[in-house]
Symmetry: C2
Subunit: 270 residues, 2 copies
């Protein structure tokens, strides 16, 4: 517990600095976390296969370096996906003695789960008003966690999904969604008072991201539990002392960040 608090206290300012500064620093940090997350994913799901995993890391680096072009220009993302698929198939053919199709699928999915989804933290930060609205991804994830904990402890009676996560309760789950939605709305109210954003309905945006984000934060948490249960591991990694690996600590943010980005993209008029 002590280690957990110390590393939290040390790393929280770093996280805040990176998100506040945005730009290249955040891009590098998200890319690094994405690569570590992919490594954790591969170690959990597939036996050591350096060649295949190196290919996936290379594509993740290409994706993170050219992310603005890949996401914002016509056809670039489907070209990227097609080339990635083709190279994986070429590798499967040429190195068929060392690999098989299942490993190729794990490599492909690992990129999307650990790197692509997490990259929405960067995408949302760089979008219009991203400096203000990116925090909703963390409010939804950590607000939901905290609310679910306190509501669950105080009045949790009905188990949510005991085989995946024995301590979670339905009351806690609802409390988490309510807490995150209220926190997001308070944050939206503060933004509205402090800044004048005329091109977006800020309360609607905050309410939607708080609600859907906190629902998906729990899905992200439980999906990571399901994967760990399936592979028989306790934690994905140990990058952050006391918190586990990237996929343990950011299992919720992986899903709240895309929610924030796509709701911003939908509601902010450019």
């Amino acid at each position: 517990m002590k280690t957990r608090i110390i590393s939290g206290v040390v790393l929280l300012p770093v996280l805040i600095f990176l998100v506040v500064s945005g730009g290249i620093w955040l891009q590098v940090a998200v890319g690094f976390l994405g690569l570590v997350g992919m490594r954790e994913f591969y170690q959990a799901f597939s036996k050591e296969n350096r060649g295949l995993h190196t290919i996936c890391y290379v594509f993740a680096v290409i994706y993170m370096v050219f992310i603005d072009q890949i996401i914002n220009r016509n056809n670039y993302f489907n070209i990227f996906v097609s080339v990635f698929l083709v190279v994986l198939l070429i590798y499967t053919v040429l190195c068929h003695n060392h690999t098989n199709a299942m490993e190729g699928m794990t490599g492909f999915f690992g990129f999307f789960y650990a790197c692509f989804l997490l990259s929405h933290v960067y995408l949302a930060r760089e979008y219009t008003h991203g400096n203000l609205l990116i925090w909703l991804a963390f409010i939804a994830a950590f607000g939901c966690d905290t609310g679910a904990y306190f509501v669950g402890v105080s009045c949790g009676k009905h188990k949510l999904i005991p085989t995946l996560s024995p301590k979670k309760t339905i009351e806690g789950s609802i409390g988490g969604i309510a807490t995150a939605t209220i926190l997001a709305l308070i944050y939206g109210w503060w933004i509205q008072r402090t800044f004048i954003l005329e091109d977006v309905n800020i309360l609607l945006l905050c309410g939607l991201t708080g609600f859907f984000g906190s629902f998906l934060a729990q899905i992200g948490d439980l999906a990571a539990s399901a994967m760990k249960r399936y592979t028989g591991i306790k934690d994905f990694g140990n990058l952050i002392p006391g918190h586990g690996g990237v996929l343990d600590r950011f299992d919720s943010v992986i899903l709240t960040a895309p929610v924030v980005y796509y709701i911003m993209w939908f509601l902010v008029n450019n």
Copy 2:
């Protein structure tokens, strides 16, 4: 052999009609073949899981119905991929007793391999000059097959990858690439003589698609062999009597179509 020839003679005109007409007919046909291909893929790789596979089919249908928007509008394809991932994760959590993460990965990859790659037949056909240039996908795939067969039979000595495909030779492989490239160039020369396309260097486009297309046609063929060898099946399916399933018959076109589409996209000036 007789069945193979009869179904070839019956289905070839249908294929030609669909590609010539393009538009909605081709869209429906490619969508149908994509869904059948996905079903073949899932039957080979994962045990019966109707819920999960239904989700993947639904996303494939959404993709094929809205393919023009999803591919040609900013952010639509990454939204599609994100929502697909999120829904698979939700399913993995809610139905964790009936499924596991590996099945989710198979579902995800199966869509990209069987439906997304094949959909480039439609995308290439609908692109500028697609009515003329889409044929390059078939020239590369079937020209390579035929050339490789005759060169291999007449002077094939060195085995290519005997564990995956015992009869293929290096001489045949080179002969296939040469045949397809020459056929594509002849086709390009005919186009140049017959039509006046001022916005593209047609011989360069045909040479590139013939060369890279026929290389990838062989990769597609061998990758399908590797998958069949891994799962211990002889054919993916039996939709086309004498030819096997969609993934058996179109294993090369699955890779030549993206090559044609992206080279067109790169070289045709709009």
